[in-house]
Amino acid sequence: MSDGIKKFMFVNTKAPYGTVYALESLEVVLISAAFDQDVSLVFCDDGVFQIMDKQNTEASGMKNFSNAYKALGDYDINKLYVEKESLEERGLTLDSLMDLTYEDEDDDWAEKPSINLVSRAELADLMDQQDVVISS
């Protein structure tokens, strides 16, 4: 693109706790928002657990940072793709996930869902359209 805006896709494939990948990726995503790029996020494989509703990390002694995903809308990051097959393989549905929304500036700040359910094949097409794909 000529206006300097690139399409960045961050692909999250790991469970939120146990490794630092999920938290680090989220930090990079929030920082990338400062550069006015076209940012989208993917949650597939165990990455779908990152945005599960009602997380409780007490037993693990880890900080529960899941509410930070709810701030993504404030950062104008509102394209979150969840892979359908990954959910199904883990016995999850969209109802198992947090209610992540954004306010649409062009539609009188109406609250809209940020999560899009996509199939593995659709995801492959989306990845094909990106300038940069970063996975963790």
């Binding site: 930090e27 920082i31 400062a34 509410n67 709810k70 701030a71 404030d74 950062y75």
Partner: protein
Amino acid sequence: MATITVEGKEVEVDEEGYLVNLSDWFPEVATEMAKIDEVEMGDDHWDIINFLREYYEEYQIAPAVRVLTKAVAKKLGKEKGNSKYLYELFPYGPGKQACKFAGLPKPTGCV
């Protein structure tokens, strides 16, 4: 490790003056940090600091200045939710300085 003394209590801060332990915060910590930065705290400053603490409580992150501005506009009105107003209150940057006074870490996404 550096410390600042607030009401006779030693409070640990990092090399940039941010609290090391978020739980060490109490309102006088903000007042003392402001004194060090030569900022006179008024009700308008407290509005922003309280707002930031609530935001952190809810989302577990310190918002970037762009996000803070937008959120303040929504909650406290447009005349407060603009960067000119916020920079007047916190000359070293509403994100960085206000988060510091509020006892939060450096904002995520502030570069």
